[in-house]
Symmetry: C2
Subunit: 392 residues, 2 copies
Amino acid sequence: MTTFGRIIVALVLTFAACWGQVIPSHPASTNIPGADFPRINADFSVTFRVQVEQAQKLQVSLGFGQSVYDMVKGTDGVWEATTKPLAPGFYYYGISIDGFITNDPGSRTFFAARKEVSGLEVPGDESEFFAVKDVPHGNVRIEWYFSKTTGETRRIFVYTPPGYDRSAARYPVLYLQHGYGEDEAGWSYQGHENFILDNLIAAGKTKPMIIVNEDGLTGVNFQPPPPPRPGTTPPPPSRGVVRFFMDERYPTLDQIISRDLIPFIDSRFRTIPDRDHRALAGLSMGGAQALRIGFNHLDQFAFLGAFSPAIAITDTDKDYDGIMADPAKLNRQLRLLWLGIGNEDFLHAPVKESHEALEKAGIKHVWVASSGAHVWTVWRKYLADFAPRLFQ
Amino acid sequence: MTTFGRIIVALVLTFAACWGQVIPSHPASTNIPGADFPRINADFSVTFRVQVEQAQKLQVSLGFGQSVYDMVKGTDGVWEATTKPLAPGFYYYGISIDGFITNDPGSRTFFAARKEVSGLEVPGDESEFFAVKDVPHGNVRIEWYFSKTTGETRRIFVYTPPGYDRSAARYPVLYLQHGYGEDEAGWSYQGHENFILDNLIAAGKTKPMIIVNEDGLTGVNFQPPPPPRPGTTPPPPSRGVVRFFMDERYPTLDQIISRDLIPFIDSRFRTIPDRDHRALAGLSMGGAQALRIGFNHLDQFAFLGAFSPAIAITDTDKDYDGIMADPAKLNRQLRLLWLGIGNEDFLHAPVKESHEALEKAGIKHVWVASSGAHVWTVWRKYLADFAPRLFQ
């Protein structure tokens, strides 16, 4: 190549690099390797492309119908849509093909709403705390153990912190539950609990701990309340719906966790097997389960967390079989009661009322009134707020 | 209820129970929890049901188009198809909706052909060896490590055998690779390597070992040869295609495994870090990679396995840079060279020719000419044949 040619190439490459700074359009991190779409644009709008030869109407449906975008058919059967700029975070979505909602072949799927659903990560400054950084990494173990309660060999996910395998130290344990329609993999695959903890531990903000994720959807032959229709403001969940998660769904999981899982974890892992080194938390349905099971087993747990939970505490004298009727006693027993909800969450009203009821009764708790809806974007942040408060 | 009524109910229940014995129709184990369809019938035919309101034509496409069944539209937009009786094993499949192939909402997805694909497990006597039994279970660890070769933090799956955490013993390691379009999770999620090993170890047939699964599809911006069209007999793969996997794709993975991964595994896990306690195997593309990388690093591996590999050895003096030109030397170096292919596999001809070339040159190897096609059903059996021969 001539010198002149080299200069031209260098100029083009420099220009391309600068252009890249201005328009850093790139495939989403949730894409399957090598897939160019969905594509995050410079303004954090997202462009979707799907090839479908025969169809009348295609739509991108974000967040189970919260936002719907019509796709436009181009040449060769390639349909395209670009969203408005999206806030950073994790979105479940589907492609509606003539009304049938299915997956985008370009994205990885995640278990949600009791099926495999396409996922989209929109990055931003707020993604830093769960990013894969050059810090020591723990691992996530897929373990199988036998539950006498269900008579099954059950699969669990267990995070062990960096250095677990090289030390003889014993660790505290956080039992952390997913929401309705998800499973024990959710806190790893959607939540990135491992990277959140790796980063917090590396920064010296959180004590190294083990995290255990069980499948909280024990018995699945029931239907949850229907999701709100797009464009409508749903009524606050009725007390009946909330009771459903609080009181009717918990007994099997209560037995699994308190009788089967804790003994297994304490025998399999180097834990500190007492209530002062054991926490229970969860999101949505899992948050309701965490409070119900935790209040039932204050001999086993001293730290409780409810992330956007499906709860509605109104009568602290009677709710939870009266466990809150003696606030001074409960305050002595619990070293942390954490409650948080986003201001766009459809469960906002009953959770805020629950907080007010606790406040009124003098039951100590950490109250986090955040922005955000009923989404993983919020729950990752809640874990990053909750974990540093544990086992101190 | 009257006594007469009770008798009638008892009779009906008894009849239903007997009928259940005769026709033990049940949801597939690969279904999402609670999904009634796909459903395995008594004769091992499988009934699929999908609800699609607006569509002209639905089909079930098994094995990427190997068998296609038209679905029939019933009431309420529910489409149904029942296959012929299927051989036990694992099937990838899709639902074709007016020509667009997508997932069945009733099934879990698995990463294959570089996308998320519905999977179907058809049980049978042959499922016993990877069934979840009442034996001690190892675990599967999702680990992250930094590769200097790619400059990335890479995800790997690592099986550790029962008792690993409670002992101070050191273990041999099998590096086991997936096929084209799959990833490091394949040997766990599709292959059930953990249950295969748990069962073999419990039966005293296999030495406890660690298994490591890397992502072998390094760089994904290429297209593999197109799959055979349904109903046609594909030509045997050209030498060019095979060379593609043998010689052009391996260098990055070779460096990752030999320079980055092995040192990481030997530092993170209690391994026996020498060639006599290290094996490398893979399926399809991974089989080609295992032979190529293994022959390059006989200082690191004494056991090699190629399951239905994309290879075509014809000239043992020249292939693999002449590593086989001195058969006596290679026979001394390799403690096991394992080669297997199914008689319905589209790679059958070149693999059989490879075996014959090895035989002719006097290169010792275990040759397994099995039934079956290019599917996980076969590779699970190959692992169960291969693992007991290791580290003896």
